[in-house]
Each structure stands twice: as C-alpha cells, then as structure tokens.
C-alpha cells in the first residue's frame, strides 16, 4: 500500500473525500486552515462541493442543508469557531442528521491562542450546543488515526443518524507523518426513508425538523435518541491499553498528549516503576469497561491533559471514585513534556 508523508490536516481532508464526503463548508481559522485549503484544491476533482462560508454559523447550517438531502457533509474548525457551530450542531442532533465536524483544538477561552490544546473536551463530550444530546467524539493520536477515524466518523454518523466529531489538536493537525489510505468502500446506508431530496411525486413529503411543541412528543424524541445512545455506549467504545496488565499507576491521556505519556510510561518502566497507559480513542462514549479493565490492578490513576483537567472528571465517574485519581496538565497551548509527566508519576509512586 502506498505511503504518503502528509500533514494531519491534509490527511483528514483526503480521508474524508475517500470516505465519500461530497461537500465541505468551512471558514478559515488557525490551526486547521490547511484542511479547508486542501478541500478547495481537491473537492471539485472528486465531484464534490467546496464552499467557503461567510461564518462558522453559516458553514454548519450549510452542512445541515446538505445532510438533510442525504449527502455526506462535513465542516472543520478550531475551538472559537466550534463554539459558533454549536447552534447548528444542536439542530443537526435534534433533526437526527448525520454530519462530521472536525475540531483542531487551540487554546481558549476567548480568542485564546493558536497553539495546541485539549480544553474543548467538556464542550465536545458534554455541551456542544443546547439541549439533551450527544455526539460521537473520536480522539486520534496520529496522522494515520486521523485518516482511520474520519472514515469511521462518516460511517457511524450515517449508521446512527447523528453528528460525529474528530477532536484533534493543533499538534496533530500540523504534524507530518507517513500515512496509508486503506481501500475504502463506504457502506451505503439507505437514506430514502427520510432524506429531503425531492419526492418526485413518488412518496409522501419528508420533513427535517427539530421542533416539537408538545412536551410529551419532544420527550419521546429525546428518549428514543437516548435508547440509541445506550446501544452506542455498549458497542462503540474504543481504547488503547498499554502495559496496563500489571501497572501500579495508570496514566490516562488522549490524542497527542497520549504520545507524550507513552514516552513517560516507558521511561518510568525503565526506572522500575510499573506505569501503564490508558488512551481512550472514543471520548463519547467514554470507554468505561476498558478503563476499569486497565485499572483493575492499579493503585492510583493520573490523568494528563492539555487543559486544567476535564477528562479527569469522566475517569472518576467511570471508576466510581474507587481509586485516587490525580491530575497533571499544561494549558494555554503549552505541551507537557515526558520529563514533567515522569516527575508526576514518580511523585505518585512515592506515595503509594
């Protein structure tokens, strides 16, 4: 299989096109702009649509329009832009539409900075818009995983008729790594039962809608969606477990941070400290079973994040606070070093 050296942002775009994405609507923002630029170059050759929207809000609503007709659609942005998209994401979820949203995170709040961050974990997994809903959140840790999870995000978005997000960060978006593009034969999901693409006088009219004025009807639409979420929680969790079988200290990290942590875990092992790595690849649904398996012999857990500590809450919930959960993070665009993480591991190890 052909190996290409590609930037993360460009690999995301190429993979999306190969996964059958037929349109991209976006707005320039650092550090994801290469993705849009790549789409502008490639999309028309692939027979699709590239359009630079007047705003992030317009872009996500263009995605809603295209997705309503049954077409695979995506948008990408970075943290401040994703905040603007939250309105549209809520409507997409409420209208049961498939769509893929990419967040190449940078530091916040406000305009923040343009260096890598993971401070949108809460936003992605808990509150990307108003109302009761979830979106699938994938956290790749390499350029190759960017490719693999974009393909999966489109597939699962279609399968479950819901929005799916790739939560990357500026580090992954900007780094270059060799990638291979697997032979992709996108699953063809039958959308003829709901897509609003013109009824051709051959069926009843379809309505794409998120409005329910009767509370009982709105409640039912939500509880039905949550039944779907229950199935997803059972079947769609993914995680990497590294040296966890005998570990005393389970270090948890996702995305680019997990690569730093893996180095630190190796260094700790070299010094005789039994450390292991738990890396959730799906942030929603959070891999609850997997972390409990990884933590079964651990005496303490440590969450390492590029934020002031967000995933750490989910870790405590997942293990039901049965063990001490520590936190170490750098934020504002600062990337933690393996040495800093090793220091934290040692600190915890000394107190076990």
């Amino acid at each position: 299989m052909e190996r290409n050296l590609m930037k993360g942002n460009e690999a995301l775009a190429e993979a999306a096109i190969r996964a059958g994405c037929k349109c991209f609507f976006g707005y320039p923002i650092t550090p994801q702009t290469e993705l849009a630029a790549y789409m502008a170059k490639r999309m028309h050759k692939a027979g699709g649509v590239f359009l630079q929207a007047e705003s992030e809000i317009a872009a996500i609503n263009m995605v809603l329009g295209a997705a309503s007709t049954g077409v695979r659609a995506m948008t990408s942005s970075s943290s401040p832009g994703v905040s603007l998209k939250s309105e549209g994401v809520s409507y997409i979820a409420g209208s049961d539409l498939p769509a893929v949203i990419i967040n190449v995170e940078r530091g916040g709040p406000g305009l923040g900075g343009i260096q890598p961050s993971q401070a949108d974990y809460w936003q992605a997994t808990k509150a990307l818009g108003h109302g009761d809903f979830q979106l699938l959140v994938y956290a790749p840790a390499s350029v190759q995983e960017m490719v693999d999870y974009v393909v999966k995000a489109f597939d699962r978005a279609d399968k479950y008729r819901m929005p799916a997000m790739i939560l990357a960060d500026g580090l992954l978006g900007q780094m270059m790594e060799p990638v291979t593009f697997p032979e992709i034969n996108p699953n063809a999901y039958d959308k003829s039962g709901w897509a609003a693409n013109g009824h051709k006088n051959a069926r009843e009219h379809h309505i794409i809608n998120s409005l329910y004025l009767k509370p009982e009807e709105l409640e039912k639409s939500i509880t039905d969606r949550f039944k779907k979420y229950d199935i997803i929680k059972e079947t769609e969790t993914e995680a990497e477990l590294y040296l966890t079988e005998d570990c005393d200290i389970l270090v948890c990290a996702f995305g680019a941070t997990a690569r730093v942590v893996k180095s630190a875990v190796n260094d700790a092992r070299a010094q005789g400290i039994k450390a292991g790595l738990f890396r959730p690849k799906t942030l929603w649904p959070f891999p609850v079973k997997e972390i409990n398996e990884a933590a079964k012999n651990a005496k303490a857990l440590l969450s390492v994040e590029m934020s002031m500590g967000q995933m750490v809450d989910d870790i405590k919930l997942a293990i039901n606070c049965s063990k001490p959960v520590h936190f170490f993070g750098r934020t504002g665009g600062v990337i933690p070093t393996p040495a800093e993480v090793l220091d934290e591991i040692k600190k915890i190890g000394g107190n076990l």
């Binding site: 609507f25 007047e54 872009a59 609503n61 007709t69 549209g88 609003a196 693409n197």
Partner: protein, 257 residues
C-alpha cells in the same frame, strides 16, 4: 359548472395555525400555485424559518427542512449546492431574514446562490408576541417600542430589497404586497419570475411581500390591510428593484423619507 378557483395541490389540505386575517395563508397559496403551474412539487425542497411560519413545513407538500433562526439561506445553500437540479426556496419573516440572519441573507445574495427567497415583511415579530422588527417603521408601537420606534434609540428600519439590489449576485429583488387582488396577482407573477430565474440558473431571487399582522398590530383584519396600504407601502415602495432580465430600478415608485 367548472371549478375556477380551488386550493392548489401542493398546499396540504389542513387548517393553518395562523391568526384570522393573517396574510401568510395568501402567500402560501400563491407560492403553491406557482409550484403547481410549473409542475415542480416533486423536485422542490423548501426551508422554513423561525417565526410564525416555523411550521409551514406542515402545509407545503414538497420536501421541507426547518432551519435555525436566520439560517435558512445557509441551509438552502447546502441543499442547492448538493442538489443543483432541484428547486430550493426559503420562506422567512423580517426578524429571521433582516435581523438575526442578515449575514446569511447578504451572502446568499452576493454569491448569486441560485435559490428563491420569499421574504414576509410585516414590520413586527409575530410569534413572540409583537416586538420591534428590523423593519418596524419609525413611530410604530410594539411591545419593545412602547412609545413608538424612536430612531434615536432603536435605529432605522432595513429596506431589504434596496440593500440586496446593490449586489451583483442578485438576479431579482422585487417588493410586492398582498393587500388587494391586483397586488396578489403581481405578487404571484413575481414569485413565478423568481422560480423561472432559478430554472434558468440566473442566480439569487428575492420577493419581499408586505404582509399584515392583525393580532400584534392590534387591528381588525380589514383595518390591518388599510395600515399596510396607508403606512407600509409609502415607507416600503412596491416595485422591481433589480431584475437582470430587464432594466434595473425601472418601475420603483418614489421613496418616502
């Protein structure tokens, strides 16, 4: 005897939720008459706004999408770009189109997006109970301008057709009214022209329809029609503001400042 007037087929045969005398129903009907006459119901996708016509998806028999407040032009863009062979229209009120959705409106026009926008201007927010709209006329009393709209405090209204007619991407910008049978005939012709533009790929067409809101104006339906004629038409002159198939600014009546 032959039937000379009946409900168009693409307008679903159910009662609407609109108040007595609300002219939304007239605009719905003439829009559906155009869809029927062109035989395009099966190839048409409509986008609803947020406002009184939020539930218009229940009335139009073509496929329908309900958009967030002000975002109908963006949603319609996503539909049209991926389905260029389909007819796409939005149906939006003044708050939706000219306040919260101004950016979407201006850019869908300047891109020359090949869609039709039906713009209902009744100078008030109807659904939320009668607040000031971007088109509320100076002096007009609303819930949020209880002493009348004071331009010193609340600024001036937006004249949408005039504004959009300056954009190269606009193919048709026409203001019509539904206060009388002759005006309704004009309005229908304008909507037909807008859809013909879309058929011919001419770009963005907007038909602004001066309409009434008897309930929130606090007027009986016939008095509301009179207000439309006496107060709205002078402030929002009827006519063609831009038509790429003909001259520009040709038959606009004199303005009134």
């Amino acid at each position: 005897m032959a039937v000379v007037f009946e409900r168009p087929k693409s307008l679903i045969d159910i009662p609407t939720h609109y108040c007595p005398g609300c002219t939304h129903g007239i605009v719905h009907r003439i829009l559906c008459e155009v869809i029927d006459e062109m035989g395009i119901e099966g190839d048409t996708i409509g986008v609803c706004p947020v406002g009184c016509s939020v539930m218009a998806y229940d009335y139009f028999n073509c496929d329908m999408i309900e958009a967030a407040h002000g975002r109908a032009p963006a949603v319609a863009t996503g539909v049209k770009r991926t389905n260029p062979d389909k007819y796409v229209f939005t149906y939006q009120g003044d708050g939706d189109l000219a306040a919260i959705g101004t950016a979407e409106t201006v850019h869908v026009a300047t891109r020359g997006e090949n869609i039709v926008v039906i713009f209902i201007n009744n100078t008030i927010y109807g659904m939320t109970g009668g607040q000031m709209a971007p088109t509320t006329i100076p002096g007009q009393v609303t819930q949020t301008t209880p002493f009348g709209r004071d331009p010193q405090l609340a600024g001036f209204p937006v004249r949408v057709c005039e504004m959009l007619s300056t954009l190269t991407g606009t193919a048709l910008a026409q203001r019509v009214a539904v206060d009388s049978v002759p005006h309704i005939r004009e309005a229908k012709k304008a909507i037909r022209k807008a859809f013909e533009n879309q058929k011919a790929g001419r770009g963005f067409s907007i038909v602004e329809v001066l309409s009434t809101c008897p309930t929130n104006w606090g007027l009986a339906p016939l008095d509301a029609i009179k207000r439309l004629q006496d107060e709205m038409i002078p402030y929002y002159p009827l006519g063609v503001y831009k038509d790429v198939t003909e001259g520009v600014f040709e038959n606009v009546q004199g303005g009134n400042e």
